[in-house]
Symmetry: C2
Subunit: 197 residues, 2 copies
């Protein structure tokens, strides 16, 4: 046993499962909580349990919600003719924080990654096609990442929508806000040039 | 609200209290757990609760234990004449992992830091003096950090022990194992030179 007691050892193991936490950080967290912040440890324990119990996927857009339908989907003031496709609930939250989008969302369950067993079926693309074909949606904005998998996902979605005669657009790739050309990679500049408007 | 739901928001807040975790990492952890590892989240919740319930301080050396007296203190094969003073239960675990020490321990509740309200009383130094004066202890090995606070703590302990006629030693400061002189800071080399044996 590497740590003082069995409960501590279990706690370190459980903390290691968090993304970005190695064995040293996990030990540091566990000792910190037990030595200096037992109330914080109990609050975290409770928060984890509550979140797992209460948080589920919206039945319409599949983002995280505590109701059957999320607040965005049930907001009548949102533009019902636009649908933004993102990879995760976290991406949806980021998009919302920009305050630049007034339409609805569709949250994929990840992105195409055949090697990890995530194919077209796992992503919920059929639900997306169904939703986009409801006769109200006029534009599907594809906001998946600009990684290889995100691009492949965007490609498959755009193809599927085109086949059904639904218009799709892709968010722009270009120089970041505040970015100086000198420090931006060449591929990004090339894309920014190609996508000029 | 920055995140999709209130429970998620609370979870992100609770994760932020962990040392070394900022708002971005906390969000990443929370989304990861809810999207990909709900079992892991429940395991972590349980591990936190169990650790807070079960882990307490050993009545003799003040390290973490689940019994009244820790396994090191109650092990008759340990050298009862040597007492190693460390700052935290985590330091005690590190010392144990070296396998180079056969004596007993005394775990301080931190190190002197008057600005943070940690004075001589808070550290449990009177318990240490009492323990070291039991007539069996022949040597107190001071293994506090080589930071300003750790050094001040070591100084106060050494003084207190000297006043009671108890022999104390300090772990050596020097070049790390595998260290090349070229990459070691000058202060460390100077100390390694002074402490040559």
């Amino acid at each position: 046993m590497d740590h003082n007691t069995k409960s501590l050892e279990h706690l370190v193991q459980a903390l290691r499962q968090l993304p970005g936490v190695g064995v040293k950080s996990a030990a540091r967290m566990a000792y910190h909580l037990l030595q200096h912040d037992r109330d914080g440890a109990l609050r975290l324990s409770q928060a984890l349990q509550t979140a797992v119990q209460n948080v589920r996927h919206c039945e319409r857009c599949y983002t995280f919600t505590e109701e059957a339908i999320c607040s965005t989907c049930s907001d009548p003031s949102r533009d019902q003719t636009r649908l933004c496709v993102v990879e995760t609930p976290s991406d949806q939250a980021v998009m919302e924080r920009t305050g630049a989008y007034e339409g609805l969302y569709f949250v994929l369950q990840g992105r195409l990654s055949p090697l990890d067993g995530v194919g077209i079926a796992e992503l919920g693309l059929s639900h997306l096609m169904e939703r986009a074909s409801n006769g109200v949606i006029e534009e599907v904005i594809i906001a998946t990442s600009f990684t290889a998998e995100g691009q492949a996902t965007a490609h498959v979605i755009a193809q599927g929508l085109a086949k059904r005669g639904i218009r799709s657009t892709r968010i722009a790739r270009g120089v970041p806000a505040g970015g100086e050309l000198e420090f931006v990679d060449l591929g990004t500049i090339a894309h920014a040039l190609a996508d000029r408007h």
